[in-house]
Symmetry: C2
Subunit: 221 residues, 2 copies
């Protein structure tokens, strides 16, 4: 267990301060949240657990993050601040296959799958986790725009192809298996998703005029 | 609140005894589970709540269903014992569009969406709920085989097209939006999913030789 870390300034939401004391505190707290999610799942995870495993005093956690929900949302925000870039294999076929296999491979490893699975599960319980998950994927979809831009430049995708729709299509059958129908995913299922998405792109199925990707309202909104 | 119902035989798993006293008890318990899921969500739902709202004594619930997990799994089993049949519009395009719109329409209504959403969420917490959800969708996929058989007979789908893969493809982008990326679904997103799936079917993307739809093992298996 780490020594308690105290007296830092609250991190601004979404700020990046690599190497600073605040950034180290935030990373230690994030790591404790991920470990706790993996061990206990969201509803059972407590601020006490995070305090014990991060070495950050409970009162500090409450002051900065407000609640377990706030801790969870910030851990997901921090997960989104990575340097992930989409594959660039030289063809749309290759890029889609690489994207799908990345999903299948990461969820085939129980250790790697535990935290992202717990985040998706927590969003059923917590509106703030749902918002953080929405923001995470919205930003991922923006990063993937270059895949479709390169494909358009090579003549592999019609003009006006909606990149987010393409990325949703290639990953959706895998996430459906993992989180809804509770089926296995593997290289064959990934490749099938990539083949299907390539055929749909080629046929112009993702050419859109209007965006339909708004935040899903909940019953209380 | 109903009067307590006591003294029935335990229902055999998956048995159908419409109109009998056991069937009425099971339906009352199922209704209480659904109401409780809608009001409180899975981890907060208790056997006490189900007893109070079903009028079935708590000791009876424990004796027959074992636990809240057992109650949840049986409610989902019972939901699968309906007379739902897939659309038959006369074309694969029409059938896929109808399937996708059915998902979008049912989840656009918060009251109709609450229980199925809670089941999907509960599967993150409960292995028995995950198994029941897997069985529910496996049976739904079998019912949908006739959609692809009719399409093949009309020359709209190549021989060897995997019906389950087609149904996963048309519903997956909608479930991804609802349960992972937390985005809105509507008629436009449903129609896009149908268009993309039709293009993929036509291109032979779902022609399979080997099945890959096994039950996803969990870390403990």
């Amino acid at each position: 267990m780490n020594a308690p870390i105290e007296g830092d300034q609250p991190p601004a939401p979404g700020s990046r301060r690599p190497g600073g004391r605040t950034a180290r505190t935030r990373a230690a707290v994030r790591d404790a949240v991920l470990t706790g999610l993996t061990e206990h799942g969201y509803p059972a995870l407590t601020v006490e657990y995070v305090a014990e495993h991060s070495g950050v005093h409970k009162t500090t956690l409450y002051r900065r993050w407000g609640s377990m929900e706030g801790l969870l949302a910030d851990a997901l925000d921090l997960a989104g601040e990575d340097d992930w870039t989409p594959p660039d294999t030289g063809s749309l076929d290759g890029d889609l296959r690489a994207l799908a296999r990345e999903v299948a491979d990461s969820f085939a490893d129980p250790a790697a799958a535990a935290a992202p699975t717990a985040f998706v599960g927590a969003a059923f319980q917590s509106e703030r986790a749902a918002e953080a998950l929405h923001a995470f994927y919205a930003e991922r979809f923006i990063r993937c725009e270059e895949v479709v831009e390169r494909a358009s430049a090579r003549g592999e995708a019609p003009a006006g192809t909606d990149a987010a729709a393409v990325v949703r299509a290639v990953s959706a059958p895998l996430f459906l298996r993992l989180f809804v129908t509770r089926e296995t995913v593997d290289t064959a299922t990934a490749d099938q998703a990539a083949r299907a998405t390539l055929a749909a792109v080629t046929a112009g199925a993702f050419v859109t005029r209007t965006e339909t990707g708004g935040r899903k309202p909940t019953a209380g909104e």
